[in-house]
């Protein structure tokens, strides 16, 4: 479990994290979303004890990170997969990390095997592709078999195969009962991986919800109506209390009435309907609605 409580982090005049509070629970992949510069990485650094918060605090498994004994057994983190010594081999990199927390060679070998890096274990890291470095980062995060995992933009720059691999991996880890926090600036990516979402913008919490709820709570739920008698239909809908707006191609976007009601209304008046499509906002649109709304950051669904 990760608990962030009224966390504030300022760098000089810049406030990177501005009073953030949230809890990440085990058993789920929790997406940590926000535009670039929203404060995701800073929050993760504070959780790992790398940055000292200006005020507030972050706890991992009810302990402050610097107090953890052999922390790799508690938290596995991947912040920057490229943060490696280019001259060291994959094997040596993992071994040095493992030894720092009293983890044996056998576990290093197992993690190399698990991430498919066994054949390149003896190669120097400067020859590694980004995908291989990401795998190595995950192997490092899993060394201590930790109940909490935290990954910062793990699929950035990966090919489709690599993305699918990580996605399936994270789900398996969460299903195993672990706490998994994954940051991303792309909602589309989280939609397929995370079942819980923490959305932040400008260092503040915007939403702490489930993926399904976020889609539902979006205001962008409407019905697309195509009819040759659009003007007539629009006034009829308005009488019934529906809000109607005209799309660029002449179709009507209707909110306030569902598709069957609109169809019935058209039938009553003998108006032909060419298309009647209920539209749920995509998660991406719901996310843009949230983060794009600079005027009101407190649309929190929490």
């Amino acid at each position: 479990m990760i608990e962030v409580d009224h966390l504030v982090k300022r760098f000089g005049r810049v406030t990177a994290v501005d009073g953030l509070t949230f809890t990440v629970r085990p058993g789920h992949v929790t997406g940590f979303l926000g535009p670039n510069g929203a404060g995701k990485t800073t929050t993760m650094r504070v959780i790992l004890g790398l940055d000292v918060p200006t005020s507030g605090h972050a706890m991992v498994n009810r302990q402050s990170y610097p107090d953890l004994v052999r922390p790799l057994h508690q938290v596995g983190a991947l912040l920057d997969a490229s943060a490696l010594h280019p001259g060291r081999t994959a094997q040596a990199h993992l071994t040095s990390l493992a030894r720092s927390n009293g983890i044996g060679r056998r576990r290093v070998a197992e993690m190399l095997q698990l991430t498919g890096l066994e054949p390149v274990a003896g190669r120097r890291l400067k020859g590694f592709s980004l995908g291989m470095k990401q795998r190595l980062g995950i192997a490092a995060a899993l060394l201590g078999d930790p109940p909490v995992l935290m990954l910062d933009e793990p699929v950035n720059g990966l090919d489709t195969e690599g993305i699918a691999w990580i996605r399936q991996f994270l789900k398996a880890l969460a299903a195993d009962g672990r706490t998994v926090l994954v940051s991303s600036h792309l909602m589309s990516e989280m939609a397929q991986t995370a079942d819980r979402l923490i959305v932040i913008g400008r260092g503040r919490l915007i939403a702490d919800t489930t993926t399904a709820e976020l889609i539902q709570s979006s205001q962008r739920q409407d019905v697309l109506l195509r009819t040759p008698r659009a003007a007539e239909m629009a006034s009829l809908l308005a009488v019934r209390g529906a809000a109607v707006s005209r799309e660029e191609d002449g179709a009507l976007a209707v909110t306030g009435l569902d598709a069957p009601a609109i169809g019935d209304l058209a039938a009553e008046h003998g108006i032909a309907v060419h298309a009647l499509i209920p539209r749920a906002a995509s998660l991406e649109e719901a996310y843009l609605d949230l983060t794009g709304d600079a005027a009101d950051f407190r649309t929190a669904a929490s």
């Binding site: 650094r45 790992l48 004890g49 790398l50 940055d51 000292v52 990170y65 610097p66 107090d67 953890l68 004994v69 052999r70 922390p71 790799l72 057994h73 938290v75 983190a77 912040l79 920057d80 490229s82 943060a83 490696l84 010594h85 280019p86 001259g87 060291r88 081999t89 040596a92 990199h93 071994t95 040095s96 990390l97 030894r99 720092s100 927390n101 009293g102 983890i103 044996g104 056998r106 576990r107 197992e110 698990l114 490092a140 899993l142 201590g144 078999d145 398996a172 880890l173 195993d176």
Partner: protein, 272 residues
């Protein structure tokens, strides 16, 4: 994911065995890092070959220079002069210990694995300290043997059994350790390779500019510099104007001690 419980080591309480175990962990980790990059091998090779080769060359030049051949007072000078070049190699080795981790971002992985940052500093210093101490002493005694072999033909060699000689040779070997430790400290403070090396060279050589001051100020201030302190502890006939060799040894060790203390002070206060 079936790895649960495979790792074995259980967490020990904050007792003495726990502290010892953690110290062993961090030392083992830093030892693995030290041994697994090529720069370690190259810098140590340069640090060993330079003084061994150079000392013999300097001894030969000294022996063939007219009017000086018979002076035994200079018999230890080639060892020191050649060592002054080798210190730069181990200084770089020391700086790299932290600067490469900071410049690649690896330091965050390191500090996330070992949140007690001073333990990381201590472990890096210990690993590099032991390596450079052994290398330095081996080099000092090989150089000594070579230099005396060259000088023997000119009847100006000294024997290791002569009073003061073993201490001077031991002190000569200490120089690599001293500068390597300053490098470790400066690498942690400056966090950049080039900046760290520049700071190291500056701290070694700039204070020696005091030597141009008029007497007696040149030696009064000069005796606090690393170069004069190093000359004093490795000399067969110490300079009467400078600190006695025992005090000079303290001056020599105070420089890396102060640097490492400064590193320990800043390493926990800055965001990684």
């Amino acid at each position: 994911m079936t790895g649960r419980g495979m790792t074995g080591p259980s967490m020990t309480g904050p007792n003495m065995t726990g502290v010892m175990a953690r110290a062993r962990d961090v030392l083992g980790s830093e030892w693995t890092k030290f041994c697994s990059v090529r720069s370690t091998f190259w810098t140590l090779l340069v640090a060993v070959l330079t003084p061994v080769g150079l000392s013999a060359v300097i001894a030969a030049a000294l022996a063939s220079s007219p009017g000086q051949g018979a002076d035994q007072g200079d018999a230890l000078l080639p060892g020191l002069l050649s060592m002054e070049y080798a210190v730069l190699a181990v200084g770089v080795l020391g700086v790299l210990a932290f600067s490469t981790e900071y410049s690649t971002g690896l330091i965050r992985t390191t500090f996330a694995a070992v949140p007690r940052r001073r333990a990381v500093l201590a472990a890096k210093a210990a690993v590099i300290g032991v390596a450079t101490l052994i290398a330095g002493e081996v080099v000092a005694f090989i150089s000594f043997a070579l230099v005396q072999a060259v000088l023997a033909g000119h009847h100006s060699s000294v024997s290791l059994s002569r009073p003061g000689v073993p201490g001077a040779v031991l002190a000569d070997g200490l120089l690599l350790f001293v500068v390597a430790m300053m490098g470790v400290g400066l690498g942690a403070i400056v966090r950049h390779t080039a900046g760290g090396i520049a700071a190291l060279v500056g701290l070694i050589f700039l204070p020696s500019a005091a030597g141009v001051l008029p007497a007696p100020w040149g030696s009064r201030i000069g005796q606090f510099t690393m170069l004069d302190a190093a000359r004093q502890v490795t000399a067969l006939r110490p300079d009467a104007n400078l600190f006695a060799p025992a005090w000079s040894l303290l001056v020599l060790l105070a420089w890396p001690a102060a640097t490492l203390l400064a590193a320990a002070a800043v390493i926990t206060r800055r965001d990684a």
